[in-house]
């Protein structure tokens, strides 16, 4: 599903963000991406959602070398990836409903189907009474839930979430994690970047750990510390 082979990340002529990262994420797997702030978690996710090209190395998604993709193929591949951005990136001029509906409209679904799915999902994340609200009128936590609903509505095969529970209380955070796990059970590969230790501790998932510009895959983090 996701293969990184000796990937080097760097912005322009700046210092290296990540040295020769190599790992493979199997289809249907669930990983936390952990590390201190500024370690490069968001940059790594940007490579995965095709917004950043690595300085060197090979990145393969869905069995295809992303460096060889034609422009049109990049759009097709992005439709199979759901992204929860750390800064939400909602469209301020659209309602909550229209924001969530975007991926389905881009995919060309019938409007009736789009409306039904978007309404159901917004109700599920607790925003059934805010369908027509503009993002600017909502709290950070509500905006985050809209961003998550938008990321998952098209049932992506790969879900990338950057601090998806950073602005919600524990109860909502837990509910959102359950949503990610449900999707994972349906076959979606999930990668969640977080520095929330309690969130990571609550779920026994393998981890991609970034520290000192190096990344390593820890398959069973609790076996290491478990004793």
């Amino acid at each position: 599903m996701v293969v990184f082979d000796k990937v080097l990340l760097r912005y322009g002529a700046g210092p290296d963000i990540l040295h020769e990262a190599s790992f493979t994420l199997a289809p249907g797997s669930f990983h936390f991406l952990v590390g201190p702030s500024g370690a490069g978690k968001s940059s790594l996710l940007r490579v995965m959602y095709l917004a950043l090209r690595p300085a060197s190395g090979l990145v393969s998604l869905f069995g295809r070398d992303v460096g060889q993709l034609a422009r049109r193929d990049i759009a097709e591949m992005r439709r199979r990836i759901g992204v929860v951005f750390q800064d939400f990136r909602l469209l301020d001029h659209l309602s909550a409903l229209d924001n969530v509906a975007l991926p389905l409209r881009i995919a060309g679904l019938r409007e009736a189907e789009v409306q039904q799915n978007a309404r159901e999902l917004l109700a599920w994340v607790g925003l059934g009474d805010q369908l027509e609200a503009r993002p600017a009128t909502l709290s950070g936590g509500q905006q985050q839930r809209i961003a998550i609903a938008r990321a998952v509505i098209a049932r992506p095969r790969l879900l990338l979430a950057d601090e998806p529970t950073g602005n919600v209380d524990d109860r909502i955070g837990l509910r959102l994690m359950r949503l990610f796990e449900e999707l994972n059970k349906l076959g979606t590969t999930v990668v969640i970047a977080t520095h929330n230790d309690s969130l990571v501790a609550g779920f026994r998932h393998p981890q991609l750990r970034i520290a000192d510009n190096h990344l390593r895959l820890v398959a069973d983090p609790f076996a290491v510390t478990g004793g």
């Binding site: 917004a51 049109r72 992005r78 439709r79 001029h93 229209d98 881009i106 098209a154």
Partner: protein
């Protein structure tokens, strides 16, 4: 109202684009209506000239009045016998005086000039008469007889008609280029203003055609709106001009139903031009970003 993910209807272009396109279509409608009206007027003149010629019979020195009458009668019979001739009428002295009045003043008859005899001949539309053969035949019957088939005027009218058509075509081309450049400018401004939204749409999986589609729909609807207003304004000004110059209208400066239909298509043509230009501009610009 068309749904759009891009807030293009909130841009300044919302008013600017239809205003510019409207003005362009206004100019195009006026130029086109004016040239078509003029073309119709010239065509009417041409057809009047083409179905008529004048036979000129010089007076012969020493010829008696009776012999002159007999000669004119022979000539009239010869003309009437030509296939395609509808009528032949000898101009009276008063009519000749009226024709010469612009050059010789009002009282031509008082000058006692030896005016030639003139025969106005009308032909049936669509018939071709061998003018030079007829002229030779008439000259044999009446020495010095000649025919004026208004060839000089026909050439001049055709020349004016051709020149006007070329000028209007050039003008329409310039208007089209100016309108297209406006759409390019507006589309680029829109791309810059909505860069963040476009980036998000791209990241969600929108391909360039999806984004270009929103720009082209906007350009089409705004172009159609502006174009319709421009065409209506152009038509009103054209009609007002015809009313202010009734003699021009009476002479044939008017449009037929097909030409009115052509004018009515101008807004659609402008909207299509705006749409295609917007699509091309956006696709070209997006291809340059990741």
């Amino acid at each position: 109202m068309l749904r759009s993910d891009l807030p293009l209807d909130r841009d300044a272009a919302r008013v600017f684009l239809p205003a510019i396109i409207g003005f362009m279509v206004f100019l195009a409608a006026l130029a086109l209506a004016g040239s078509m009206g003029l073309d119709n007027l010239l065509a009417r003149w041409r057809s009047q000239i083409e179905t008529a010629f004048t036979v000129e019979l010089p007076r012969l020195d020493g010829e008696s009045a009776g012999a002159a009458t007999a000669r004119r009668s022979t000539v009239m019979s010869a003309i009437a016998a030509v296939p395609g001739v509808e009528s032949a009428v000898e101009l009276s002295d008063q009519e000749k005086a009226r024709l010469l009045a612009p050059w010789l003043g009002g009282d031509v008859q008082a000058l006692d000039l030896p005016l030639p005899d003139l025969i106005g001949v009308a032909t049936k539309p669509g018939t071709a008469i061998d003018i030079s053969a007829l002229a030779a035949k008439l000259a044999a019957l009446s020495p010095g007889a000649s025919i004026d088939d208004h060839g000089r005027w026909r050439g001049a009218i055709a020349g004016v008609s051709r020149t006007v058509r070329r000028a209007v075509l050039g003008l329409l081309l310039l208007i089209g280029v100016a309108a297209a450049l406006t759409v390019v400018f507006v589309s680029r401004a829109g791309l810059a203003a909505h860069r963040r939204v476009i980036e998000i749409l791209h990241l969600i999986g929108a391909h360039d055609g999806y984004i270009a589609g929103q720009f082209q729909r906007h350009a089409f609807t705004r172009g159609l709106l502006g174009g319709a207003l421009g065409a209506i304004a152009g038509t009103l000004v054209f009609e007002a001009g015809r009313r202010l110059l009734p003699e021009l209208a009476a002479a044939g400066f008017e449009l037929d139903p097909l030409q009115w239909a052509g004018l009515a298509l101008l807004p659609l043509a402008a909207a299509l031009l705006a749409m295609v230009t917007a699509r091309y501009t956006v696709l070209t610009a997006l291809a340059k970003v990741m």
